[in-house]
């Protein structure tokens, strides 16, 4: 699909809104926005604009609506599922990274209101300096990943064991609709309300906030978000647990999650993953074939210590043992700096998905059978498995394949397809994008898809915002 746009006219009109320096049609600039961190190629945008305020976004959208210009909103573009790449040629891409300010911290309601393009790393830092922390801290790509990007893509990541994924932590949103109108959600629905004064999400009407969460930027343009915050903890405990096999590790993992003991419970994987992540552990702990790290954060050290004791008790009950705290501490201290070192293993084919914790051992066993069938090791295809706890009581499983030798792409594709099909039996992807759409759309109930379509048509009748997303 190619949008028919008068590019020079659009550039002039948008420059009058944001200033000439903040809109570009230069081929060099355009091509740098046609890709994100996914392996999928994107279409070339026709214009890139970098607004600074809601008012500017509103004016841009009014222009786009009037002239039927497709619009693609993007943030840090660190998505590995291909959620931010343009699906149509010549789209107007709105780069939100210039809207990167903390608007207000509301200590009364314990919320922070931010512009959409602030990165998770910057927000965490700014809050910490003022004595606060977020619940969900951001995806593993949170150095560059932006808040609105994660809210659009249903990100899971740091702090999810206690607080859930990115959408779980939202109180309210400010959204510019396809018509150019601006709405505020949650308790900010009143005409006179300010987003920074919002305090409740579920109130008075339906959860309109939820409509725009996980929408992959297709239903509106998020221009501000209000998130929950908490005091910086005074009691913190870290520890690592080693297990004889994946089954016992998963049982302990589930029980710790059932009891809601951990801020973070992470890195449940197999021998191969231990080898790839921390190979020295294989010789240090030869009887450990599965491990995970736990982080506990509480208002008081004594509570943290008690919770740590409870976790240890659970681990021992399931055949595990404490093996120090290095892994959990390094993971938490190097949040967002962990996955990059895997790039050199060959560009990754990632299957992040959600599932009940009890089904983890089975999918890992299934994957091992797939690996054996396709002789992945022999074909220099490595993998890493890492699961983290997600509230309420489920897990995000992370099985990623690394292709060292490009000539083996067909082997990887075959294994990857089988793996994704296997994962869909008892799990679901949390992000979608070009990675998962081919798999999930044919499996989706027609009635569900019809509702999705009617919602899109109601909010964006001209199909202008991120067109082709969620379309078979």
């Amino acid at each position: 699909m190619t949008a028919s746009i008068d590019i020079p006219a659009a550039q002039a009109a948008i420059a009058s809104i944001v200033g000439a320096a903040n809109v570009s049609t230069e081929p060099i600039v355009l091509c740098s926005y046609a890709e994100d961190a996914s392996p999928f190629p994107g279409k070339l945008p026709g214009i890139v604009v970098r607004p600074r305020s809601t008012e500017e976004v509103k004016s841009i959208m009014v222009y786009a609506a009037k002239n039927k210009v497709p619009v693609v909103p993007v943030g840090g573009r660190s998505s590995i599922c291909g959620s931010t790449i343009p699906r149509v040629d010549n789209a107007l891409m709105i780069d939100f990274t210039r809207m990167d300010q903390v608007i207000a911290i509301n200590e009364d309601a314990m919320t922070v209101t931010v512009q959409p393009g602030i990165t998770w790393s910057r927000l965490i830092h700014d809050l910490k300096e003022k004595g606060f922390k977020l619940g969900f801290r951001g995806p593993y790509g949170g150095n560059a990943g932006t808040v609105a990007g994660s809210l659009s893509g249903n990100s899971i990541g740091c702090g999810a064991a206690a607080h859930g994924g990115a959408p779980d932590n939202v109180v309210s949103l400010e959204v510019v609709l396809a018509s150019g109108e601006v709405i505020k959600t949650g308790s900010a629905w009143k005409e006179s309300a300010e987003l920074k004064g919002t305090f409740a999400r579920f109130c008075t009407y339906n959860d309109i906030t939820g409509l725009f969460l996980g929408d992959h930027g297709s239903l509106g343009l998020k221009t501000a978000a209000t998130l929950k915050i908490f005091p910086v903890p005074k009691g913190v405990a870290y520890f690592d647990m080693g297990f004889p096999d994946i089954h016992s590790g998963a049982r302990a993992f589930q029980e710790i999650q059932k009891e809601h003991l951990a801020e973070e419970i992470v890195m449940l994987g197999d021998d191969n993953s231990i080898e790839l992540l921390v190979n020295s552990y294989r010789s240090t702990f030869p009887d450990v074939h599965c491990l995970f790290g736990v982080v506990i954060e509480e208002p008081d050290e004594r509570i943290a210590d008690v919770k740590k004791e409870l976790c240890e008790k659970i681990a021992r009950k399931h055949g595990g043992k404490p093996i120090g705290q290095f892994l959990a501490k390094a993971h938490w201290g190097n949040m967002f700096n962990l996955t990059q070192s895997l790039f050199e293993e060959g560009f990754w084919h990632n299957t992040c998905h959600l599932r009940p914790i009890s089904t983890l051992p089975a999918i890992i066993d299934q994957f091992h059978a797939i690996a054996k069938k396709h002789e992945l090791k022999k074909n220099q295809i490595n993998w890493i498995i890492s699961a983290l706890g997600v509230a309420h009581c489920y897990t995000s499983g992370w099985i990623t394949l690394f292709l060292k030798d490009k000539s083996k792409q067909d082997v990887l594709d075959a294994a990857w397809d089988e793996l994704k099909a296997a994962e869909m039996v008892s799990g679901v992807p949390y992000w979608t994008g070009k990675l998962w759409e081919p798999y999930v759309l044919p499996m989706t109930s027609p009635a569900f898809l019809a509702v999705m379509k009617r919602v899109k048509e109601a909010l964006d009748p001209e199909n202008l915002i991120h067109p082709q997303v969620f379309r078979p």
Binding site: I28, C31, A34, A37, S121, H125, T284, I323, L338
Partner: protein, 550 residues
């Protein structure tokens, strides 16, 4: 002429490795526990805004150039020369050891562009001037030492002062500062009669053949002078000689030092006192050529921190994560507005910290940071470290100053710990040669968390023969091992290596403010550290503890 990308193609593998995570462009201030104070690392993107100017964007653009989707034209030429090659992106990148080398790719592209006749007219003028005058500024060679007119300079000495073109022709106060500093220190030194351009600008802008010829000429001149050590006040010249001349015959026999390294070493043997007349809040701007490119971070800081009547303020973006001044990579000459914009951003960081005096160690940085102040209502003074040291040197000290331990060499917790570790070098035997770690000692954990200076610091280098223990922090330590004073006092009483390991592991796994604690700050990727043997080191030190086997 058709452009062949023969140089760029040699680095094409970097394009495949890049995961396009975006850390190099938009990453915000990171978790302070990791001490990775990256804050929007690309100085060019911070001014121009678009992705194409960050390393991730550049890699995508280069892929399109190599794929034939983007043509060589003026737009591409302007873009190619908009990178300061500061290497901030490389430092931020965790994809491979040392990071993806986008600056090298940009320099390779420039070589290909120059080879095919796609040149910037300003750069052509510079090349022509270097050829004719021995400097890039179109100035007569005879005027190089005008700033010390009438003063006799020795032609031969063990130490040669290599001023560089920018100090000599554009920053005479800095050139004078360097000369005055060595004079005041009483260092016998010579200067080359007919010193020429180091050729940094040639290298950075893609004139590889001209660079190679110029470099050979310079090395020959230095060899002929008989000097055994060359000292540079200019970070650009220093990086060029130390790194880019490395393969030239003759260069290997000469020691190249930045003036901060030289002075820092010199005053350990010949103590001097430095003092500001009026109290000053002083900060240091790391020149890219000195810091990221050559790994010198501590010497200038040690010197500035040694000046009395001053408070040293570390900027948030500092050391390997320092923001570039904007002058490098030929940007100052081909795009002065961009260079000024970058400098203004850097100046603003110092102003935000209420700094009175922003000190650098490079004439390019000094000039550009001063240009960045243009019109700004600020009292910020920008100066070079040579000027400041020459200005503040007051009198000789009688005693010897130790970096770790009390003045006069009195015994301290740190020095006792150094002596203890020296008795057990096999603690470090699992580390690969060249591994280096900082040991820092703190009164309380909050000081570590708040990134206050430790009470004492030393570093341990794994050598082929064992270990070298040196007072002070290393320039580029693999990790920082932080300990409380109480922990050190307990550790150094351990009678055996096994007892030491057990106690060490206890302090790490069961930290206690009173009994003692140990913590780590990892400066390299965990994967890299494990490859270097730190995993085994951790095991031997009792950190990876199988509690059931204890």
């Amino acid at each position: 002429m058709t452009t062949k990308f023969s140089q760029l193609e040699k680095l094409e593998h970097f394009i495949d490795i890049c995961g396009r995570c975006g850390d190099c462009g938009t990453s915000g201030t990171q978790m302070s526990t990791a001490k990775r104070h990256v804050d929007r690392p690309c100085p060019v993107k911070n001014v121009l805004g678009y992705e194409a100017y960050s390393a991730r964007g550049r890699i995508i653009v280069l892929k399109n150039v190599l794929g034939g989707k983007l043509k060589v034209n003026k737009e591409l030429l302007d873009w190619a020369y908009s990178c300061t090659t500061c290497a901030s992106c490389k430092e931020t990148c965790l994809a491979i050891d040392g990071g993806i080398d986008t600056p090298a790719m940009m320099e390779a592209l420039r070589c290909d562009l120059v080879a095919s006749g796609n040149v910037v007219s300003k750069h052509e003028e510079i090349v022509d001037s270097i050829r004719k005058n021995g400097n890039p500024y179109g100035e007569p060679a005879a005027k190089r030492l005008d700033f010390i007119k009438g003063r006799h300079v020795a032609a031969k000495a063990d130490v040669l002062l290599f001023l560089g073109c920018t100090a000599a022709y554009r920053e005479p106060s800095m050139a004078a500062g360097a000369v005055a500093l060595l004079d005041k220190l009483g260092v016998p030194y010579a200067m080359l009669d007919g010193e020429g351009c180091c050729g940094s600008i040639l290298k950075r802008c893609g004139y590889s053949a001209e660079f190679a010829a110029n470099a050979k000429k310079n090395v020959a001149a230095i060899e002929a002078s008989g000097a055994r050590k060359v000292v540079f006040p200019c970070a650009g010249c220093y990086r060029t000689f130390k790194k880019d001349y490395a393969d030239i015959d003759g260069a290997k026999n000469i020691q190249f030092q930045h003036i901060t390294e030289f002075v820092s070493e010199y005053i350990k043997a010949h103590p001097k006192q430095f003092k500001f007349k009026q109290h000053a809040r002083v900060s240091y701007h790391d020149p890219c050529h000195l810091g990221r490119h050559a790994g010198v971070y501590e010497a200038p800081r040690d010197l500035l921190k040694g000046i009395q009547n001053a408070t040293f303020i570390e900027l948030d973006a500092s050391r390997n994560f320092s923001h570039c001044c904007g002058s490098g990579g030929g940007v100052k000459s081909s795009n002065p507005e961009l260079a000024r914009g970058i400098a203004a951003n850097r100046d603003a960081e110092a102003v935000a910290k209420q700094v009175d005096l922003l000190v650098s160690a490079c004439p390019f940085c000094e000039k550009n940071l001063r240009d960045g102040l243009d019109g700004a209502a600020t009292v910020l003074r920008v100066a070079d470290i040579t000027e400041i040291l020459a200005e503040t040197m007051v009198e000789e000290l009688k005693g010897k100053v130790a970096a770790c331990g009390a003045p006069g060499g009195a015994t301290t917790t740190g020095s006792e710990y150094m002596a203890y570790l020296a008795r057990y070098p096999d603690i470090f035997s699992d580390l690969v040669q060249g591994s280096i770690m900082d040991f820092t000692i703190y009164n309380k954990i909050e000081d570590l968390q708040a990134e206050c200076d430790p009470v004492e610091a030393f570093n341990v280098l794994r050598t082929d023969k064992g270990i070298d223990i040196t007072p002070g922090r290393a320039d580029s330590a693999d990790l920082e091992l932080a300990l409380s004073v109480a922990a050190v006092k307990r550790l150094i009483t351990c009678p055996t290596k096994a007892a030491y390991a057990e106690q060490f592991g206890k302090f790490y796994n069961e930290p206690d403010e009173v009994e003692g604690w140990i913590d780590f700050v990892l400066n390299k990727r965990t994967k890299t550290l494990i490859k270097m043997g730190y995993g085994k080191f951790a095991e031997a030190a009792g950190i990876l503890e199988d509690e059931d086997s204890v």
